[in-house]
């Protein structure tokens, strides 16, 4: 079965793609910290400028806008909910006599929306412009605990197989369900999930045995090379400097 992969545009050639993945990770996280630590009121112009810089980098990356929008759409309900609920929560926690300043509250809602959207866009750019395994390797080189990178690697490798199993068991269920499910719907779905869980558990046992068979002792070995270039650092610093200039000098 064919799946779409989060790194399907990692083969493109652009200045963003060519950056060392370690630099890309550090730059992305720094940018997220700079943007998300902005106060929620009186900083709308700053957030719009951050958006302009981030969109410029996105255009530079040559990743199709439709693809990015599609991925943004997945998280957009959560962002929207946070943006709408934040002003409501401000009103809800005040005294009954409190008279809300609606334009100011709307501004905080928009700020929450922009901050979260920019953070998500930066993370999507990070995972789209490099091969997933290179990002994992970069994390390993950045001294992220091996258990985290190993779990991520195995998850990325096997999540599609679990999706396939879900599809297969779903088809088996449908092929024996002419019309409407007559037995308890929840029970059937529950059994399906239980079967997938058991199969995943069995598979994990086999994978571990196969790892042991090839001398696994708890550490994933690697032999990939990464070349950090001066140009990577300059580009990264330029991006961060632009964001800091917006934060402190505008």
């Amino acid at each position: 079965m064919k799946h779409s992969f989060i790194d399907k545009y990692s083969h493109l050639d652009s200045p963003v793609h060519r950056l060392d993945p370690r630099v890309k990770i550090i730059t992305s996280l720094t940018a997220i910290v700079i943007i998300t630590t902005e106060p929620l009121s009186g900083r709308l112009l700053h957030l719009l400028l951050y958006s302009a810089v981030t969109v410029a980098v996105t255009v530079l990356s040559r990743v199709p806008a439709a693809y990015l929008a599609g991925r943004m759409l997945i998280v957009s309900p959560f962002i929207l909910m946070a943006a709408l609920l934040y002003p409501v929560s401000v009103i809800a926690t005040r005294e009954v006599s409190f008279i809300p300043n609606f334009p100011a509250l709307a501004e905080t809602g928009v700020s929450v929306f922009l901050k979260a959207s920019l953070a998500v866009l930066i993370l999507i750019l990070l995972t789209t412009t490099d091969k997933f395994h290179r990002l994992l390797l970069a994390l390993r080189r950045l001294k992220v605990p091996a258990i985290v990178t190993t779990i991520s690697a195995l998850l990325y490798r096997y999540i599609f197989l679990i999706a396939d199993e879900m599809l297969r068991t779903g088809r088996a269920r449908e092929s024996r369900t002419p019309g409407v499910l007559r037995t308890g719907r929840l029970k059937v779905y529950g059994n399906q999930v239980a079967v997938i869980f058991l199969r995943s558990w069995e598979r994990s046992q086999l994978i571990y045995k196969s790892m042991l068979s090839r001398g696994f002792t708890g550490e994933f070995p690697d032999m990939q090379k990464m070349n950090l270039k001066g140009k990577d650092i300059v580009l990264s610093l330029l991006f961060i400097a632009l964001l800091l200039a917006v934060k402190f000098f505008i």
Binding site: L136, Y158, L161, L206, K209, G215, Q224
Partner: protein, 246 residues
């Protein structure tokens, strides 16, 4: 000369009171291609997992060449015995083909230049040169099977143990795999329910039923013993009838 295998009085259970292997004894000569056939649930895969110490018998012993498999010498044993699992998805857990093929040699502490040479060599043997940077889940079932074999060949084991190597393969892939297996000089243990390729590949085989060895001998001789095959749950009359019809 590659190592031979000696299994003596091996018994094993996953849960108390439910013996999967019952006093199994076998001797496989160095460089021999040896088949182990038996119906589903007869304990074939379990037996295979004892060859490199992934499972440990309750009684008995397994010798690979001059080494008896014990908890202390597992790294040494695993260098000698390469296990190819039935489902390549259980064997390919790294993000790229190259990392999967390099996994064994790197774990054994080989220098990076040698690991790279071995990866290139193993992939070339499987006709997979150029697949290094691909991700396993992008490959076809046949390609994944070949990558799984490459992950073991890169370890240059003296003993190759195959668990159902012919399952889920189309006939041309079975032929291709048989040619590859036939060209390898290592000692080979082939566990399979597909009796015909085992007959074609191996001069000797054992029949395992309910965890017990019921017969060991020349492959063709055993396969011709209709009553034995039928009693072991491996009735070949369907194949015979098809061959007659064709």
């Amino acid at each position: 000369m590659p190592a031979g295998i000696k299994i003596e009085d091996l018994s094993f259970s996953y849960t108390p009171g439910n013996r999967i292997l019952k006093s199994v004894s076998l001797e496989i000569n160095p460089g021999e291609k040896f088949g182990i056939i038996g119906p589903s649930g007869s304990g074939k895969s379990t037996l295979l997992l004892h060859l490199n110490g992934v499972l440990k018998g309750e009684t008995g012993r397994v010798d690979i060449g001059n080494i008896t498999v014990t908890a202390k010498n597992l790294p040494e044993v695993r260098k000698l015995v390469g296990l190819v699992f039935q489902n390549p998805d259980d064997q390919l857990f790294n993000p790229t083909v190259e990392e999967d093929v390099a996994f064994g040699p790197l774990n054994f502490g080989l220098p990076e230049t040698e690991v790279r040479e071995r990866v290139a060599e193993a992939l070339a043997m499987m006709n997979l040169s150029g697949f290094e940077k691909l991700t396993s889940h992008h490959l076809s079932a046949g390609e994944r099977k070949r990558v799984a074999l490459a992950t073991v060949l890169s370890m240059k084991p003296e003993v190759l143990a195959f668990d159902e190597p012919f399952s889920n393969l189309d006939p041309s892939m079975v032929m291709q795999l048989m040619e590859i297996m036939g060209s390898l000089e290592s000692t080979q243990v082939i566990v399979s329910q597909s009796v015909l390729p085992v007959i074609a590949l191996c001069k000797r085989m054992a029949i395992l039923k309910d965890g017990e060895i019921v017969a060991v001998g020349e492959t063709r001789k055993l396969a011709k013993d209709h009553s034995l095959m039928k009693a072991s749950g491996l009735d070949l009359s369907l194949y015979r009838n098809i061959c007659h019809t064709l």
